[in-house]
């Protein structure tokens, strides 16, 4: 008997040993984009170390540039057979990534019934770009919304109430006209409002505007777009109208230029990401406010930022570990820490129940403004061939802002181009 038991124990040990060794040696490659300023890599390295101490799985982050560059590098590496196991990429890239046939859906990663319940705990707006074919494909992580920053001194100077930011388009335009200041020679020294229309950002600005007239630009499957719609045209006409009214500069404003413009006092209101809050807080020499975007009739905004994706090239054990890492990052204390140190919105309500975050918000209420607008936020424009559709939209928006096309013409051209791009994806 003893001998038999010893034998069993020994064989069990020898069977278990490789598994233990494997688990200890497991190393996940994680591509990660740096989209805002600040010491993000240092923060992130800390999380990875904590995770390793807890589970023995080493997560090796690869800081791969901005979102676009990270996408390029991840896809190139996967096609080359040496890709990451997981990555943070734009939430809106879901359909395109699916089309490349490199994604593992959350059920494929091993999300069970309990996991499904956990997924339901995210803010719904942050899951808007995660669903396709009746499955979930990504876990929200570094998320933001589009917000407006405004110069309170300029508001006071123009005779506006600094504590009351416009809530409708009409109010915004009226305020922006008042905020625009000219010198004796007629040169504008301060613009009322600036919104980014350069490549990579025009579609985000426009996504917000479309939601402000309650218009959805695409279907959930990502195979159809609705640009050539009176409401979409109305949204573009409003954008263009800000320049015609003299409240915004003619032509295209660059995303990267908005923060310096704001800090220089060259723009009284800018539309930007919540992720920019810490930067402006550090550098602004005047009191400034943060507010949700207005809408045609009331505030409405659009979410942005990146989700965690899992890739097919990871084996079952690696996928499981990757999912565990995603859940580790979403734990309330860590999500709260992440939000405070970066300015991103914590993706789950329970993070806002933690004491640290409550205390932080009590001392810096601006940090909690964006969250209040999540109920009126929608997902980003996201289709198959996402970048091509973005390019078509961006070119036409830019042509319209340059005065080369009417809003109706620009939207009709965008729709025609998008139809051509999406033709192969239309199911008969």
């Amino acid at each position: 008997m003893i001998r038999r038991r010893t034998l069993l124990a020994a064989s069990a040990a020898s069977l278990a040993a490789p598994a233990v060794v494997r688990a200890q040696a497991m190393k996940l490659s994680f591509y990660y984009p740096i989209a805002v300023g600040g010491p993000i890599p240092a923060i992130f390295d800390g999380y990875c170390k904590e995770f390793q101490a807890k589970t023995g799985v080493e997560v090796a982050p690869v800081y791969a540039g901005n979102y676009g560059e990270t996408l390029t590098k991840a896809v190139t590496a996967i096609k080359g057979g040496n890709g990451p196991h997981l990555a943070v990429l734009l939430a809106a890239e879901m359909h395109s990534l699916q089309d490349l046939d490199i994604l593992a859906s959350l059920p494929d990663v091993g999300l069970d019934a309990e996991g499904e319940k956990w997924m339901a705990g995210f803010y719904p707006a942050f899951l808007a770009n995660s669903r396709a074919d009746g499955k979930l494909w990504s876990v929200p992580f570094q998320r933001s919304t589009s917000v407006m920053y405004y110069n309170k001194s300029a508001f006071a100077e123009a005779g506006l109430d600094p504590e009351k930011f416009p809530r409708t388009w009409a109010e915004l335009q009226a305020a922006a006209v008042k905020l625009t200041r000219k010198d004796a020679a007629g040169r504008v020294t301060r613009w009322g409002v600036k919104m980014a229309a350069d490549t990579g950002n025009a579609q985000w600005t426009f996504g917000g505007l479309a939601n402000q007239v309650m218009h959805q630009l695409m279907n959930e499957a990502g195979t159809e777009t609705y640009f050539n719609h009176p409401k979409a045209i109305e949204a573009l006409a409003f954008w263009r109208g800000l320049a015609s009214a003299g409240a915004a500069p003619e032509g295209v404003s660059n995303w990267g230029q908005l923060s310096p413009d704001f800090l220089e006092g060259n723009a009284a209101i800018i539309q930007h990401t919540t992720g920019n809050l810490t930067n402006l807080k550090t550098n602004a020499k005047f009191p400034f406010g943060i507010a949700g975007l207005p809408g045609k009739d009331g505030p409405r905004t659009v979410v942005g930022g990146g989700n965690i994706y899992f890739f097919k090239n990871a084996n079952a054990a690696e996928r499981k570990a990757a999912l565990a890492f995603a859940r580790f990052l979403a734990e309330p204390e860590r999500a709260a820490n992440w939000s405070m140190r970066t300015g991103y919105i914590a993706t789950r309500p329970e993070a806002y129940e933690t004491k640290v975050l409550k205390d932080y918000i009590a001392g810096f209420p601006a940090a909690d403004v964006a969250r209040g607008f999540l109920p009126v936020a929608v997902g980003e424009l996201s289709t198959f061939e996402n970048q091509k559709v973005y390019a078509a939209l961006t070119n036409n928006v830019q042509a319209c802002l340059n005065g080369a096309k009417t809003p109706a013409q620009a939207m009709a051209d965008t729709q025609a181009e998008a139809d051509r791009i999406l033709k192969p994806y239309k199911k008969a």
């Binding site: 390029t72 046939d101 007629g186 040169r187 504008v188 350069d198 003619e250 070119n395």
Partner: protein, 289 residues
């Protein structure tokens, strides 16, 4: 086979291997890829013959990029070469602070294009950037240099000329220094005017250098797009989209490998024709000593 032949082949073998591996082989596979549709996911690429090329003819962005690139080349090549020659002539004469002037002209060449683009991004900033500031002093208005369709491409051209001229100047300067001074003394004795000397002696003697510089300028007119990436991303509305940038967009933004391969073949063909023209036609008229 003769021994010398074997030796000859052995000597060029290393260079040949590298050339084949990194130039000819990729070019050949690109040509092959241009006959196939873009593979999607696990589906294998499908042979489509010349369809990609026909699609290209219908692609408005291709024609815009081609037109932009032609304008870009027609301005940057002559402007940078002439400016380089003028600068070289200037710093070849005995002027005070000559070393400083040479260094100043050469500085743009030493800076990486990405850094240059970021500096110029500030120059072009509307309202409070360098140019608008200077123009404002003289009572001028606001210019959205990079955000306006009419000024974006000229802005790209100015940056490219600024970046390139110093590099070409070095070649002209070297050629001018190598020119024997007795020619000048001779011409002075004959009573030839300075302009006549420049036109009849200096310029013809600089022709080999000019050909070399021209070849480089032509290549750069199609190759130098780093500042487009940093400053405009090809916008607004494709106003600064150049062929190579469009290839990058197609290949790494849209993952449309068929379009990227087809564009690459077109670009290769264009460059090949230009090289043939330069070496075959211009080259024959160059006088080598």
């Amino acid at each position: 086979m003769r021994r010398e032949t074997v030796q000859g082949w052995l000597l060029i073998l290393p260079a040949l291997l590298l050339l084949v591996a990194f130039t000819h082989w990729p070019a050949a596979t690109t040509l092959l890829d241009s006959f196939y549709a873009t593979p999607k996911g696990s589906r294998p690429p499908r042979f489509v013959g010349l369809e990609n090329y026909l699609d290209l003819l219908d692609d408005p962005v291709f024609w815009i990029a081609l037109r932009n690139n032609a304008i870009y080349a027609l301005w940057t090549i002559p402007a940078s070469v002439i400016l380089a020659l003028v600068m070289a002539l200037a710093v070849n004469t005995a002027i005070p602070g000559r070393a400083l002037a040479r260094m100043a002209y050469f500085t743009p060449t030493m800076l990486p294009m990405i850094a240059v683009a970021n500096i110029w991004l500030f120059f072009f900033t509307p309202d409070y950037g360098l140019f608008d500031h200077v123009i404002g002093v003289f009572g001028g208005g606001r210019h959205n240099w990079l955000g306006d369709r009419d000024t974006a491409l000229p802005a790209m051209i100015v940056v490219a000329v600024w970046k390139e001229a110093g590099f070409f100047m070095i070649f002209y300067l070297a050629a001018l220094q190598a020119m024997p001074p007795d020619l000048k003394e001779c011409a002075a004795l004959e009573g030839s005017s300075r302009w006549n000397f420049f036109r009849r002696v200096t310029l013809p003697l600089l022709m080999p250098t000019t050909l070399f510089v021209l070849v480089n300028a032509v290549i750069n007119a199609f190759r130098l797009v780093d500042h487009v990436v940093v400053m405009t991303h090809g916008g607004p509305d494709n106003a600064t989209n150049l062929l190579l940038y469009y290839i990058y967009q197609a290949g790494f933004r849209f993952w449309d490998t068929a379009l990227a391969a087809t564009l690459t073949v077109v670009l290769l063909f264009l460059l090949g024709m230009l090289a043939w023209f330069q070496f075959g036609v211009l080259g024959k008229r160059v006088h080598y000593r």
